[in-house]
């Protein structure tokens, strides 16, 4: 007897009640949803639950094990924080979209088969797009469309892969796969796109900064982390992911240097941080996979906190560019403090969450003698602190005083940030709270003397570097090209191609088919006999020698001038009989040839 409901469905079905409730009731209901889902999570039995039959295929809506549970827990926590942060919104459309988005993310995490996974995967793409469009600016409309198109393309790759896989194996079960054969490659591409692995990463840094203030907080938590989950579940130990992850970690850091928009800077650091997780999946040892899971957990909390901090600045000032901000510490000290807890967490300072999660992956790389990977990940760590912990807060809250005197954000925003900041610190101080949830069997002790000292050396001397290079590091009013260049400029080139050469070609075809051919036919039937004479004379003109040319030319000219003239049919009866005889002969010939 199943007496519980898959937690994803709580949010998905629950979403439909949101518009029916008003004011305080609606706010209470939004906070109740994650509480209810959390309660269900705590009481779910391990194993496959909610198995259903669909067209002869088995759907598993609730695969419950330690791996799905750790993602389930953090998703529900993120849902609670996100709803707290956005509870002041009167516009219930965003609440519905967020609820569907959370529910479908949970649906993916607990899906035990490909069909269930794909359905929730697509709901995620559509509901999250709404959180971008709700900003209602031209930029957000455009970015939302690009976001949706890219995700539909990724979803199609996944779907084709799933169909081939089901056709080949006869099973829809989603378990650890080997990377061989077209199906596994297509499925992997679908997963990598949602994980924002370059070159499939530009949708993230393109769309997240254009989303609504509250929407970006949800976006930063779910899409990339469900992708990390499915990579752990399906492709743990796939070697190519080690390199992809390391490149990704560095790529995000490099692009973050060039970002001027604070939420774009943070978006690039999502790519960078997810790079660590993807590398961990590729390494594939118990420690590395635990590291990816733990880092996903910690990342959702601190990245949510950072997006909430940046969102608070945008909400209160209406500005999000480093070049337009500065000096906000004077009036927003609480926001600054909470943001800095997120900044120190992502930078992996001792006593904060990143320190106990990221280091598992970096240590796993070292233990497996992946020195270059270790080096890339360590350098990227310095870059993370440089931007998220130093550059962004410096040029937003300190730096040149912009003259803006914005107040602290509404109390619900501060509470949401406070919860996230508390959890970031809790995990840092008491890592076992997180380690007890980890799915694989590996022990790791983050607080050794050398780990603390060496980490502090890297971070503090990065800080020294920052202040030495301070003049180079301010935001600049530019945007940087990313792989979205290919489809943004590509689409423009395509449209130019359609609007110029293709349109010219089509008007030419139009002209020939609907104008030249019909009018010449009409001209020809006015006097077909004369046309034949002109035609035969023209052929004759080509064949004859130079002495007769002028004569034939004159004749053609005369014939054309007279055209159509009076229709002059010689021996009409004879010609008719001749034609009939010819047709009959042709008919006879065809008949004999065919029957013979």
């Amino acid at each position: 007897m199943i007496n519980w409901m898959p937690p994803g469905l709580i949010f998905i079905l629950g979403a439909f009640l949101i518009p029916l409730l008003k004011g305080r009731m609606q706010q209470a209901y939004l906070l109740l949803l994650p509480v209810l889902a959390g309660f269900i999570l705590l009481n779910m039995p391990e194993g496959a639950g909610y198995v259903m039959n669909f067209l002869g295929y088995e759907l598993v809506l609730a695969r419950v094990d330690k791996l799905s549970m750790i993602f389930g827990y953090v998703f529900v926590i993120a849902a609670f924080i996100g709803f707290t942060y956005s509870i002041h919104l009167k516009e219930y459309g965003q609440h519905i979209a967020a609820s569907l988005y959370i529910g479908s993310s949970l649906g993916v995490v607990f899906a035990g088969d490909f069909i269930t996974l794909f359905i929730f995967w697509e709901i995620m793409a559509i509901s999250s797009t709404y959180l971008i469009w709700s900003r209602k600016t031209k930029a957000s409309q455009d970015a939302g469309f690009r976001y949706l198109l890219v995700h539909i393309a990724g979803g199609l790759s996944l779907l084709i892969g799933i169909i081939i896989n089901v056709a080949e194996t006869g099973s829809t079960a989603f378990n650890l796969m080997e990377l061989s054969g077209l199906a596994s490659y297509l499925i992997l591409i679908g997963f990598l796109l949602n994980a924002a692995v370059p070159p499939f990463s530009a949708w993230l840094s393109d769309a997240y900064p254009e989303a609504t203030i509250t929407g970006a907080v949800f976006l930063s938590a779910f899409t990339t982390k469900t992708a990390v989950y499915v990579l752990i579940r399906g492709f743990a130990g796939t070697e190519i992911l080690i390199w992809m992850g390391a490149i990704m970690a560095f790529y995000g850091v490099i692009f973050a240097v060039l970002a001027n928009d604070i939420r774009r800077l943070l978006a690039y650091h999502i790519i960078s941080q997810v790079g660590y997780m993807v590398a961990g999946v590729g390494i594939g040892t118990a420690l590395a996979l635990n590291g990816s899971s733990a880092h996903a957990f910690a990342h959702i909390l601190y990245k949510g906190l950072l997006f909430m901090g940046a969102g608070a600045v945008l909400h209160m000032t209406g500005k999000s560019k480093l070049t337009e901000l500065g000096g906000l510490y004077k009036t927003m000290p609480i926001t600054l403090t909470l943001y800095m807890i997120g900044g120190l967490s992502i930078s992996a300072f001792p006593l904060f969450s990143g320190f106990v999660s990221k280091s598992m992956i970096v240590t796993a790389a070292a233990e497996n003698h992946l020195t270059i990977i270790w080096l890339i990940l360590s350098v990227s760590s310095a870059g993370t602190f440089l931007h998220t912990g130093l550059k962004l807060p410096w040029f937003t809250f300190f730096g040149k005083d912009s003259g803006i005197r914005a107040k602290e954000p509404p109390i619900n925003m501060l509470i949401a940030m406070g919860i996230a900041a508390f959890l970031c610190t809790l995990i840092g101080i008491y890592p076992d709270a997180l380690y007890n949830l980890l799915p694989f069997d590996a022990t790791y002790a983050p607080y050794t003397a050398e780990h603390i000292v060496w980490t502090l050396q890297i971070l503090l001397f990065t800080g020294l570097g920052f202040f030495l290079l301070l003049k180079q590091l301010g935001g600049e009013p530019y945007i940087s090209m990313d792989t979205d260049w290919f489809y943004r400029k590509g689409a423009r080139a395509f449209m130019w191609f359609i609007n110029n050469p293709m349109v010219r070609l089509s008007s030419k075809v139009n002209n020939v088919v609907f104008d030249i051919i019909p009018s010449s036919l009409i001209w020809a039937v006015k006097n077909p006999y004369a046309v034949m004479r002109i035609a035969s004379d023209t052929v004759l003109l080509q064949l004859s020698g130079p002495d007769k040319r002028t004569e034939i030319q004159q004749r053609i000219k005369k014939e054309k001038d007279m055209y159509p003239g009076t229709i002059n049919i010689y021996r009409p009866v004879g010609l008719t009989v001749l034609l009939i005889t010819l047709f009959l002969m042709a008919y006879l010939l065809v008949y004999y040839l065919k029957s013979g």
Partner: protein, 82 residues
């Protein structure tokens, strides 16, 4: 209206923070000479202060690389796509 916080606008405070920062930098390097080294994976783990240099070099490397790439290639005017 509440009085604005202007802690970081006073030169005296800034000087104090600077001195504090330098002391912190010095401490993390000096401490490195005295800690046990049981968990190192690489030869450079045995060199005290190595990671301080690593951090500084990494920071400069990232900034120089990114700014060069940006200036030479990636950075465009904000209306580039319009």
């Amino acid at each position: 209206m509440k009085k604005e916080n202007d802690f970081f606008d006073k030169p005296g405070n800034i000087r104090m923070l600077k001195i504090l920062s330098y002391i912190c930098l010095a401490i993390v390097v000096v401490v490195d000479f005295f800690i046990p080294r049981d968990h190192g994976h690489y030869p450079w783990d045995q060199v005290p202060g190595f990671y301080a240099l690593f951090g500084l070099v990494a920071c400069v490397l990232i900034v120089v690389m990114a700014k060069t790439l940006g200036k030479k290639w990636l950075m465009k005017k904000e209306d580039y796509y319009d």
